[in-house]
Symmetry: C5
Subunit: 376 residues, 5 copies
């Protein structure tokens, strides 16, 4: 499970010519969805073949083409002819292991971001690459197979919201990027709740299964950070002054997206701290239980070793004919007196242990939780 993301990483054989589009072998055939809109109209198309795409250029103020799936190299290649997309951009789309980044070409801006969502088992994070190219009057988005967080934007386009319908392709690009950035908030929230659960489990009863869960959380967080850190840089580039095709009115909105990405980064880093603390917590929880275990043994040993010595003493076979040898054995009340001595010894030892805080040390987790509540 955990190896797959890494295994997939090596799709390209080293040394291959840069001109070849090597699609992932199991990529499904793409679905193409087209939005063409302006202040007054909004048309939706499902383009089955690529020949249609070239004809759409320039028909509406803004053209948004969304590819769902990477299976068709010809479709990708047609982008080169119809929109002048640079060949390296197509290669990066075809090899979906890019880091989030912004690349500025003369005719368009290429943005790579990464989408993550919880897998079907609810515990693993699946990842896909979102490619976004925007230029004069067009936005092209290319995704791998999984769902996207763009439905609210589609709805706004259909609902004729003036802010987005009257703005240009750069505003649409902003809206899409904003949606990608914001989709990390609910993701991180679930992750944070998982961490809180894990923290409780560690305090209550640390097992090696818990340790495995900590490791899994750490690996998941690593994946998140690997997507979020460069996303921050990419969005920072976008909000800068030197990015073409972005109108001045859109800039404050991009600054806002940058702000969100900083908040996401803050969250990620605070989770990192928490995950680091989990490991510490596990170790100290295990140490603590070790103290409990050894405390039990020490208690039992400290009480029964002296008692056993006493019983051994009076089990010796010295010749009691001599009055110096074990005279206690001959006393009529020897046994009850010994029993009393042993009982007193036991009580004394237990009291000593109580005084030194022994039983507090090995308090059960239930008691701990109770004490913790009054402490808080």
């Amino acid at each position: 499970m955990s190896k797959h993301p890494r295994k997939r990483r090596q799709a390209k054989t080293p040394g291959l010519p840069p001109g070849t589009l090597l699609l992932p072998p199991d990529a499904p055939a793409p679905e193409v969805h087209v939005f063409g809109y302006g202040p007054t109209e909004c048309v939706e198309l499902d383009a089955a073949d690529d020949s249609a795409l070239g004809d759409l250029v320039g028909r509406w103020p803004v053209l948004w083409i969304n590819f769902n799936g990477l299976g068709s190299g010809e479709l990708l290649s047609s982008l080169e002819q119809d929109f002048g997309i640079h060949h390296l951009v197509l290669e990066d789309m075809a090899n979906p292991h890019q880091r989030p980044k912004v690349e500025i070409y003369s005719d368009h801006v290429y943005v790579v971001l990464r989408l993550q969502h919880w897998g079907e088992d609810g515990h693993t994070l699946e990842e896909e690459q979102l490619n976004l190219v925007f230029g004069k009057g067009f936005v092209i988005t290319v995704q791998e197979v999984l769902g996207d967080p763009f439905d609210p934007i589609r709805h706004r386009l259909r609902a004729s919201r003036p802010l987005i319908r009257e703005a240009g392709a750069d505003f649409l690009a902003y809206a899409l990027i904003d949606a990608v950035v914001d989709h990390y908030f609910p993701l991180l929230q679930v992750f944070g709740d998982d961490l809180d659960d894990l923290e409780e489990r560690i305090l209550e009863r640390p097992t090696q299964a818990t340790l495995l869960a900590v490791k899994r959380a750490r690996r998941r967080l690593l994946g998140l950070r690997r997507a979020i850190w460069p996303m921050r840089d990419a969005v920072a580039t976008l909000q800068g002054d030197h990015v073409p095709f972005i109108q001045p009115g859109t800039r404050p909105y991009l600054r806002d997206v940058f702000d969100h990405s900083l908040r996401i980064l803050d969250l990620t880093e605070s989770y990192r701290d928490q995950v680091g603390g989990l490991m510490d917590g596990y170790m100290s929880s295990v140490s603590f239980r070790m103290n409990e275990i050894m405390g039990t043994l020490t208690l039992v040993g400290t009480i029964f070793l002296p008692l056993s010595f006493l019983t051994g003493l009076y089990g010796m076979n010295f010749d009691t004919a001599s009055p110096w040898n074990l005279p206690e054995l001959g006393q009529p009340y020897g046994y009850p007196v010994l029993m009393a001595v042993m009982a007193l010894t036991t009580i004394g030892l237990l009291y000593g242990f109580y005084r030194s805080g022994w039983f507090e040390l090995s308090a059960s987790s239930a008691k701990l939780a109770a004490r913790d509540d009054e402490d808080a």
Copy 2:
């Protein structure tokens, strides 16, 4: 308890249009308080509805409008019309999870800071966002529900202090920001005292409840750092040369605020060091007690296992008819001699333990404290 700050963080659904003001659902209706003042007069108003605000513009040299609560979207929206506040500023006000920052717009400067104060239980830190917008002749502050640290400034305004009454809106903005920055000093002082208490508890008797308290302190500190680090950056921006609406005479004062924010950061970072040390201290304190426990068991075992062996020896049933078999049993002084041997063995072992520093090792915490005093 600890999850709430994170849960609240996700107020905005990803993909929503940027034009919508989504107020926190449980926000109370705002109280609006207005100060209009100049060198010669100072008027206070409680504005119940928003229509009044537009009329106040320009009446006095400086106008300070303070919103207490976020409950009314119309009121916020009226700021857009009356003062030309940018829509994104209003959104950030309505979604009170912003990081401290400074944003410069053409007509005004927007400052976000965060206020923290101890909750009712005295242990949790509650946080709210303070929004401050200042421009030519006006300062607008928007707070969430909790109290503010601005009463001394209100008092100074009423008391006709010339320094503040004769200065412009930028000086008022400075005074308010200064109050926010300085409110962290007493907060951190309480936090530091808590850490000192925790440190003592850990040395005296480390329990898992103490561990929980360390975790809580770490989380609290994390929240503080998350508010203070970007506050430093925001104040650094403000003291720079390129911020509009700030007169040269106010700059040294802002540099002074920056200095305070650096001192607060220093304090926070030294607490961070201390919290990191607490975890180490806990682990070593637990290890130390483990040594005490094992030391006790080893002491008892090392003394009584040999003694029990001796008693077992003379409990054997060899046929004493043979003079080679256990001749000691037949001696008239066998038992007292054995007792003496055992007493000497015990004394010898105890002396050996004493010589190797055993009892020092397992000194009680009371003794430790005493020795520590003479050490210091």
Copy 3:
């Protein structure tokens, strides 16, 4: 084994004149392979002696000379005359312990990269230095003895791929550097799989051999990072604007190589995190087994010490003539009653241990794996 790379590092005696070419003593005689090509032709030569090299200059648009082995100082020196290579470049070639770097001379650009591959034992990483010099119309590559990742490029040259055949020496240099950068992907993949195996071994049964394996992995990773970090810087320099001999059309390709080097760095750093976690995992796994061991002893001790006390009790030799002394010994059912008491004590203790989660704590690794699966 692990010392060799370091030992070799000191090939140069301090204070030697910079004018001497000190070749590694055991370097084999070089094989020289020459490609001369342009859009229309592609010639391959095996140059046996150095006199031939000077004649080749300028015959084809692009000349690629590949040296395999460092054994001949004259051959290297001839480069100074024929291509004007700076003497310091030759020295760096002869002393193959350079960090990856880019050095710009007036007549050529000198690039040092490092190649690594798994040794014959499949566990150690062997390293060699790849020197690449390119200028107007020529590329010279100098390798130590091991294989190179350039075969696909040779194939493309022979196959008359237009992209490479029509481009200049700078594009060939790009293709070679790209191949070197990309050859780290499969390498890191194997390394990552090894780490995953190691992680499992640590959880299942941590031995000191496992610890050694962790150390070896750490050292291997260190070697990788030492090659990859400066490679990133070198490639970053190459994609900059101020490198001569690079045509504008090649720049996006170099930016792409830079991107790959960033991804390789990301991978390396995430492995670093994982290796750091292995050490933690080892320690906690050992601690955990310690708990198991001590748990066993405590269980056995807690059950048998009280039982042995009871048997000792009834092994005492008090004079049973007195009815107060050990009257139980004379009871006809004394023994079965005692046995029952001891059995009940044992069952009670075991139940107590069960209730406090003792047996869960010392669950075997097999069980752990099972529980882990359902947990995931």
Copy 4:
């Protein structure tokens, strides 16, 4: 003890007007000492009241006024009138919790440094703020109550050393700052010696008192770093080109001071490393003693548990009428043979322990020291 520096930090109530000089409540009345000098003359005055100060301006080429104590607000305020000191400077003087810094005003340069010295108990570090203002022809120094490291400079002034007497106020300022920077050298030396002692105590016999001492050292170091890090920045600012009132000839001297501050920082950072190592050393020393303790118990248990089993065996009461039941008991040499068997078992076990390096492991500290010497 350790809380005081932090408690004092909050002298200012948040929100107070910046125009108020709030002196520390327990500050003593200031002593004012004046040096006026030039190449040919040097006059010393003890100015009792502030009226005198204004008259001194301009009488000599250089005027040095030293305030010892912060108790008089009027005296401070008079500096504003007589020397044009900015009000914020006076506030920073009155609130002696500033970080080391340099602030450049139009008429003067304000330097804050911090002095530390060992308290009366020889273990705590007491701290005070040194304020230094210099401008055209004057230097003003304001200290809290404690002593200063300026006596050698006073001596040089009186002794008519030409270097200082012929130079301007900037050279005096340099000399004073140099003295402050250099006073950290002996301080750090004592601190380092303490660390060395602590290191030895930890190796020999780690107690919780030692742990406390480590904590105290860490806190002391924290205080030092808090003073030294920003001092480095302040001195770096001073040696820059844009500081007014500093003549070109003084610059190399300031660069020299900067160099010293770097060396002090190096020392501090290496102590930090050492303090971090102390904690590690403590933990491993405690672990090591734990091994010793457990080794003792294991040795005793492994020898006496089998022996006691044997004695128990021959203490059983099987009916020896049957020749199969414990025939050894009836042998005439049974007891000596058993004793021999037990002695051989013991010797064998001890030899086994010796072979596996048991006794080395639990070597006493004395032996350790001896072996260490021959090791070094």
Copy 5:
């Protein structure tokens, strides 16, 4: 031993006038050795007194004066008159605790580097300061007492190597600095071999002496890093464009030195990683042995506690007149049956331990090494 370098650090009393040359009290009288050379001649002189030095200026194209020892203040002072060396340079020479640095004066460039070599015991690193001043036509080197790595350069001068003999003073300065930088390679190699040895000792048998050795290695490394880090910066400054007296042809050579210093830094940092790992390795090795120890005790206890219980059982004195009381004692084969039961119990327990991997856990170091080999 370890305190000396720090103790010597405080040669200067704070507050002393900058004009005083305070030589180290135990410094030997300097030996002065002079090289004067040009393309055609090379003269060597041993200058006994300082009057000679002034006369040598300008006689040859390059003049190299080497001082061996710091004992004569007059000699140093004469440099001020004869070569115009700045007074602060002389002070830094006289106080040999400077960090490596480059200082540019109008008439000369001052370079401080540090030399280290293994002391007589072969374990401590001794350090000295190397001062190098070069200007137009002269190089002055001032060393403390120990040897220098300049003999190969002297040899090259005498051997009339054209590269150095025809170049100027800047090339000589380069050659000297190169020799100093490169002298760290063999030093670090010895250090690295020591670390490898230490690593093996830790795995085989960790004692507190090993811990001390780790601490010593850490301290030694700290000293190395303190010399090497600023050396990197100094060399980086030298290779920059703005250093006077350096001819363009020498620059690539200085870039080469910078490269070497980077490689030395890489080595140092990888050793730092390794030293950090040693501490971890020590702790885990100690933990591992603890497991072995406890495993032994648990094995012995788990086998003999039940057996002793059985012997205790049949040592009880119940009245066997009743057929219910210990009927086994009267059986003719009771004893052999019990022996068989005990043997079977023992075998069963041992088999259980074997199955759970107990004996693997406590494998001896010899076995470990063997397994490790096949593992590698």
